[in-house]
């Protein structure tokens, strides 16, 4: 993303909008600029802000007049008055930033929007996580901090040593050179994304040791980790996972419940 300085009026509305805080007013030119190393190409500024398409010269003149008299103008906080935000053509490896940060871009590896994962949301028809198994959803950078693949690579390598199974239908796994060792492509390690999800599967009895490992590893990272764990319920809807999590001292207040209403309807020849 970049800012067209012929259009920008330095109103500052886009500054707090940026989830990474990457936009600032450059005093040398009195225009907004984007720190491209911190920008994760999430398109929040470009797509989330409403636009007015006003004449920049006129807007600058009005702003200067108001500033001279110390008038406080109270504009709507989510509008770019002159449509100054301009998306750039992204090439490899920077393109992974948008793939993992803009939820309206489907991931090529899974065809799914958002962070590109299905987890147990469709477990009633995909049967990815079976009874007696636990599916981990380890999300790096969420909420609102962002993560570099270098940090993710440290964790995936350590988890691979535990012998966990990485979900093959997952965007991060698709960027691994060797999923059996958790090694992520070296050319993307410095790329920053809003968040990325690693999915692994273990036996239920291994949940405490995997949780412990993730907790240990997360302390060494430059970002935050959001953790989710899932399982297939029994025939009466009961689950053994909650007991394990409570014993380990984790909160289990909120979650997702798959209602089992999905069924196979596509007829294959």
């Amino acid at each position: 993303m970049k800012i067209d300085h012929d259009k920008c009026v330095a109103c500052g509305n886009c500054l707090p909008i940026c989830p990474m805080g990457a936009i600032y007013i450059d005093p040398s030119v009195n225009r907004a600029r984007i720190n491209s190393d911190e920008c994760v190409e999430c398109f929040t500024c470009y797509r989330g802000m409403s636009k007015e398409h006003l004449n920049p010269t006129l807007v600058r003149a009005i702003r200067k007049t108001a500033q001279f008299f110390r008038f406080r103008f109270d504009p709507e906080p989510d509008i770019c008055p002159t449509d100054a935000l301009v998306p750039e053509e992204l090439s490899w490896p920077r393109v992974v930033r948008r793939a993992f940060s803009d939820p309206q871009v489907p991931h090529e590896s899974t065809g799914i929007h958002g962070r590109g994962t299905a987890e147990v949301k469709t477990n009633d028809v995909t049967h990815r996580v079976k009874e007696g198994e636990a599916g981990f959803v380890v999300e790096f950078g969420r909420p609102g901090i962002g993560a570099r693949f270098r940090d993710i690579d440290r964790v995936t390598r350590a988890l691979a040593e535990l012998g966990v199974e990485f979900e093959s239908n997952n965007p991060v796994t698709s960027l691994m050179l060797d999923p059996s060792r958790g090694v992520i492509r070296p050319e993307i390690l410095d790329e920053k994304v809003l968040s990325a999800i690693v999915e692994i599967k273990t036996r239920l009895e291994d949940v405490p040791s995997v949780l412990k490992k993730i907790k240990e590893l997360s302390r060494e990272l430059a970002t935050v980790v959001s953790l989710g764990v899932s399982t297939r319920c029994g025939n009466a809807g009961e689950d053994r996972l909650s007991e394990i999590l409570e014993r380990e001292g984790y909160p289990t207040y909120r979650g997702k419940t798959n209602l089992g209403l999905g069924r196979v309807t596509v007829v294959h020849d």
Partner: protein
């Protein structure tokens, strides 16, 4: 829709209080078809799902590829600063569905959510349906509508460099868009504007909702949080 999993409340505070306040105004029900399994006629199924939701007063609704009931506009004129159209447009969400996506409906009370789930069960749409809410409420809803839970996924909260996270009020607002489209700095600004009475909590909540690109931001809960924040010292 992992984006609805980690919605912050006192239950996930780093120093948890002994009796955290239950969240009673945030229930999401979403539907997702799987490629090659049940994605035949998926547009009609998704539209049927959202049409059923509309009967039960959703506070937001969304299509993950297009947005929610409130969306940014590309064609505003300066009058918007004084007279902004704040009306949600659920028909735009329903009509805009054109292929693979996830559709969601957000409710601010248990009864509406339960009535909707009951309708969805009866409609037998054949696509995967999930409740994202306090686990006990989802379990109770299943019991009361005659559904046997298939799978569960628990949010275990946040770890790592948590000192980088903003305060709890900001987190309550920003985590309602799990994709991170509602930034912490913007949430802080909206809280300040609420304190300064520059806009009403209802207007500010709607302004924030426009950034959530899949429509799972709970406008009603945000309004409550922004209203309560007026008297709090962050």
């Amino acid at each position: 829709m992992t984006n609805t999993l980690h919605r912050y409340s006192e239950h996930y505070a780093f120093e948890r209080p002994p009796n955290p306040q239950p969240v009673q105004d945030d229930f999401i029900v979403f539907a997702m078809a799987s490629r090659g399994i049940n994605d035949d006629d998926l547009v009609a199924r998704y539209r049927a799902f959202l049409r059923l939701a509309l009967k039960h007063n959703p506070v937001n609704m969304g299509d993950a590829t297009k947005g929610g009931m409130l969306r940014p506009r590309q064609d505003l004129n300066p009058k918007a600063h004084w007279k902004r159209d704040q009306r949600p447009n659920p028909e735009e969400v329903v009509a805009g569905i054109d292929g693979h996506t996830t559709v969601a409906a957000v409710f601010d009370n248990y009864q509406d959510m339960k009535a909707f789930v009951d309708d969805v069960r009866s409609a037998n749409l054949g696509i995967s349906v999930n409740i994202s809410a306090p686990i006990e409420d989802a379990e109770r809803c299943c019991r009361e509508t005659g559904i046997t839970r298939h799978s569960v996924e628990y949010s275990l909260g946040f770890s790592g460099r948590v000192e980088k996270l903003p305060d709890s009020t900001v987190l309550e607002l920003t985590t309602m868009c799990g994709h991170g489209m509602v930034s912490a700095n913007f949430a802080k600004k909206m809280i300040d504007w609420s304190k300064e009475n520059r806009r009403s909590p209802a207007e500010l909540a709607r302004t924030m909702a426009r950034f959530c690109s899949c429509g799972v931001f709970n406008i009603s809960r945000a309004e409550r949080i922004l209203d309560e924040a007026r008297m709090k010292n962050r």
